[in-house]
């Protein structure tokens, strides 16, 4: 069997060995932003349930969403949504056989970071105009 010697083999170095690189950091950030979105998503469900329950429950949920805390959730969730979308787009591009050269991958990583900030700003500007 292949797993006779399980305890005495060299292990490949893991996260704590490497210094941060944009390729790895931008990848980890996809996971963090995706998992973090659960907070805004559950608050959205609360908002919907409150709206369906009646004016008083809605006033509370909507009040929290439009409070300074709610604005922080809005800002964080919109950024996380855009970052996760751009990061996901990068994976779809690579899955389809896109360019995986290190230099280009690093550029894509930065594009996700700056693109997500840009799209977040655009989202709030559009929301503010309309």
């Amino acid at each position: 069997m292949a797993d006779v010697n399980r305890g005495n083999r060299p292990l490949s170095p893991h996260l704590q060995i490497y210094s941060p690189q944009i390729t790895s950091m931008s990848s980890i950030l996809i996971r963090i932003s995706g998992i973090g979105l659960i907070f805004g998503a559950l608050m959205l469900v609360w908002w919907l349930v409150a709206a369906a329950s009646g004016p008083e429950a809605f006033a509370l949920a909507d009040g929290v969403w439009t409070s300074p805390f709610g604005w922080l959730v809005q800002l964080g969730s919109v950024w996380a949504l855009w970052y996760h979308a751009l990061g996901g787009l990068r994976h779809l591009y690579w899955d389809a056989g896109g360019n995986m050269e290190i230099g280009f991958a690093e550029k894509l990583g930065w594009a996700c970071v700056f693109g997500s900030f840009g799209l977040t700003a655009v989202t709030f500007v559009i929301a503010w105009i309309f």
Partner: protein, 123 residues
Amino acid sequence: MAFVTDRKRAIGLGSARSGTEHHWQMTLSSYALLLLAPLFLIAWGPMLGAAHAEVLAHFARPFPAVITGLMVVVGFQHFRQGVQSAIEDYTHGQTRHLMIVAVACLSYGAMALGLFALVRLAL
């Protein structure tokens, strides 16, 4: 005794033991959410801070109701499967099983609550 050859047993399964189905479903929901997420921001954003009566009228219209419904279903499905991958990367054994079940409960629970609320708003 198994009569199937090792090769036959392994074909198409990979380390996940379920082939590429999970990855393919993530790919599909990713494409869907790339379209749904911006549409959802348009459908929902204007209702933050709006009057209750206005919200009722808004979600009685087809576009906001359908987009929000799709976002809730596809979004929480994508969340469940994505988090499952993260759990499988970092945990093992009983902990892994319990966490996957917990995330499924949370995702489907939130999905059902969201849809229930939406139906009450829309109808």
